[in-house]
């Protein structure tokens, strides 16, 4: 049975849940968000990714209603959100610090939002118990926040923000305070809960691995603007700029000049060296400056020149980073440029083929690299 791919952003009929229309936000002289337009669809798990100070948190706080836009409009479910205070929005937020009320028990924390709606007591109790089950916190219901662990607090914060069944849940660096192992478990838990509840999630993070794992689409931000929005695979395989390529994962960037050659381009990158060949859908003119972005895992490493590879270049191993399952070789090319090549350690460490100072060939196919304009 063919599975329908979840991709409302490709469907022109789909109505977005959230619409940013030319949104600008200024704090005094500082422009946090500049003329940003973006749609987010229902049931999406949308990640805002970027370095600190790129405006991702401001964007989220505008959705929650803690900040107003300086210019432009934000629409949620078609309704203009200007002048709608946070307590009147069908949006809930999970805070980075969790912001659990220290004077209330876990149960009362989760019930807090429901009580404000003035629902009958038995309905509130039923909903709180449901949330406790969802986040596996039944045992801790009567404890105070300072009596439970960090991971449990994080789940309480999630349960509390989900209790009112919001249309949109905002997560501000939700896993920042957890250690790596717990974070990975929680990421899958988050995806699971998102699927179960069908809520639209917008997550802010500076951890690219986290963004890639959980989200349906990732928006890479820099200096108040969205640089690229795409699925994690597209972002990784087809970044639209050096900034995105460099921000997501590890990458080799080679600066060169393009010359069209049949259906591909020849890229001159250093004097006295054979040009690299790369196929790309982007058009480049003769002699245009370009950047070749190649992921280390797509670069092969061998002792002799491979015959069937479109690109091959010789260099010397300067450094080896051993990560257990993989090793990254730092190879210095003839013009002094450093290049990284990654291989899986399928053999025992003692039988590794290469060592420091070895002269090796790096090679990759003509489709492995992405050619970028800027």
């Amino acid at each position: 049975m063919a599975q329908t791919v979840f991709a409302p952003w490709d469907d022109p009929q789909a109505k977005p849940l959230i619409q940013f229309k030319n949104v600008t936000k200024r704090f005094g002289d500082f422009t946090a968000i500049e003329n940003l337009t973006q749609d987010i669809y229902e049931r999406e798990f949308f990640a805002l990714l970027g370095p600190s100070g790129c405006g991702k948190t401001t964007l989220m706080r505008m959705l929650a209603g803690f900040e107003n836009t300086s210019e432009g409009q934000i629409l949620i479910a078609g309704q203009d959100m200007a002048n709608v205070p946070p307590n009147k929005r069908a949006v809930n937020m999970m805070f980075q610090s969790y912001a659990l009320f220290p004077h209330l028990s876990i149960w009362e924390n989760i019930a807090f939002g429901l009580k404000r709606e003035g629902k009958p007591k038995d309905q509130i109790a039923a909903r709180v118990d449901e949330m406790l089950r969802l986040t596996r916190l039944e045992k801790f219901a009567m404890r105070k926040p300072h009596q439970i662990s960090g991971g449990q607090r994080q789940r309480v914060a999630l349960a509390r923000s989900l209790a009112k069944a919001p249309k949109l849940l905002l997560l501000d660096e939700p896993l920042g305070a957890l250690d790596k192992k717990l974070r990975q478990d929680t990421q899958f838990e988050l995806m699971d809960i998102q699927e179960k509840t069908g809520t639209t999630f917008v997550i802010v993070t500076h951890d690219q691995e986290e963004a890639m794992t959980v989200s349906s689409r990732v928006a890479v931000m820099d200096e108040g603007q969205i640089i690229q929005v795409a699925t994690p695979a597209q972002i990784y395989e087809a970044p639209n700029s050096v900034y995105v390529a460099d921000f997501i994962g590890d990458v080799n960037i080679i600066d060169g000049v393009a010359t069209p050659e049949g259906d591909a381009y020849h890229i001159a990158w250093a004097e006295g060296q054979a040009p690299f060949t790369a196929k790309t859908a982007t058009r480049f003119s003769e002699g245009q400056r370009c950047y070749l972005a190649i992921r280390p895992e797509k670069v092969g490493i061998s002792a002799d020149r491979p015959a069937d590879m479109a690109n091959a270049v010789q260099g010397q191993i300067i450094d080896i980073a051993y990560l257990g399952n993989i090793s990254t070789y730092h190879v210095k090319l003839a013009n002094g440029q450093m290049m990284k090549a990654q291989t899986a350690n399928t053999r025992r460490l003692s039988r590794r083929s290469f060592t420091w100072e070895d002269r090796v060939w790096l090679s990759w196919t003509d489709t492995a690299a992405v050619v970028l304009e800027n």
Binding site: A64, G65, F66, P85, P86, N87, V91, N92, M93, F95, Q96, S97, A99, L100, F101, P102, H103, F112, G113, R116, E117, H146, R160, S161, K164
Partner: protein
């Protein structure tokens, strides 16, 4: 052994400066008034040995405490003191909370200055400050002059030598004791808690009521006790600002001691006052302890 010495230092301190004086006061309260120096009997005479000590204890009795129950003045003074202390504590809270709240909301660079302003009055003598209130509140004082000048009143208000003046004096004097603990509690509150409350459907006002007030509760309790406890035994403010009908136990105690030179009755009054104060002091300690446990 080292631990024993560590504990012994504060222990001896308390013994010498609290327990011993208290024992002396207790002893005087069980003695009889006499025309001598000091003005009470019996006096302990150790030269007569065991018989002297026995005779000494035989002469002690609870006569003065019985006397306190017979004269209406004393229990009325206690009740009136409790009442004045309670009302002025509530007034101080009402004035102090908004000030502490404003300080906690102020920008970081202002807070140190504001804190200094709260403590600043302590740099002047307490007595001088109370005297200056007499200048402000008297019939020809600044307040009446100002109100007459604005035309709000046509005849001067009688404030000095009434209970109102006592309330003003107590609120003014003890305000820093209320502000500081509340400010300390509010200042360490995480601002995102209020945002979380708003996000979950609270208006600003309900968020204040459901989050800010409960989280500053320990500060409120501490502040109230810090005002209530000294206000109960206060004697300078009622004797300078209060009128002849202002009845406070501190003033009664002072008069027994200095005007009547009846040390035994004055000591009995003091012992009862201390017993009354033990309750709020214990409650205060318990509040502090609970707060420390919460912070851990």
């Amino acid at each position: 052994m080292r631990r024993f010495i560590l504990i012994a230092v504060p222990f001896i301190w308390l013994m010498a400066l609290f327990l011993v004086p208290f024992a002396i006061v207790l002893k005087i309260s069980l003695s009889d008034i006499a025309l001598s120096i000091p003005p009470y009997t019996p006096q302990l005479d150790l030269t007569e040995g065991w018989a002297g000590i026995k005779a000494f204890f035989a002469e002690l009795d609870f006569e003065n405490y019985v006397f306190l129950t017979q004269d209406q003045l004393y229990w009325k003074a206690y009740v009136s003191s409790l009442q004045i202390a309670l009302i002025s504590t509530i007034l101080t809270l009402l004035v102090g909370y908004p000030i502490a709240y404003g300080m906690a909301q102020a920008p970081d660079e202002w807070r140190a200055t504001l804190l200094l302003l709260v403590i600043l009055p302590f740099w002047t003598s307490f007595l001088i400050r109370v005297y200056s209130w007499m200048g402000i509140l008297s019939n020809e004082g600044f307040l009446n002059q100002f109100l007459l000048w604005t035309g709000l009143i046509s005849t001067p208000l009688v404030i000095l030598n009434t209970n109102t003046a006592v309330y003003i004096g107590i609120v003014y004097t003890y305000l820093p004791f209320m502000i500081l603990p509340i400010y300390a509690a509010l200042e360490k509150m995480d601002g995102s808690l209020l945002e979380a409350a708003e996000d979950l459907g609270c208006s600003r006002l309900t968020a204040f009521w459901l989050v800010t007030i409960p989280l500053s509760k320990s500060g409120i309790i501490a502040g109230c006790f810090l005002v209530f406890i000294p206000a109960l035994g206060e004697f300078v403010i009622p004797s300078l600002l209060g009128g002849s009908d202002t009845l406070m136990i501190g003033k009664v105690l002072w008069e027994e001691f200095f005007s009547n030179r009846d040390w035994p009755v004055a000591s009995a009054v003091a012992v009862i006052l201390l017993l009354i104060l033990i309750i709020p002091i214990v409650l205060f300690q318990r509040n502090e302890q609970k707060q420390r446990e919460m912070d851990q």
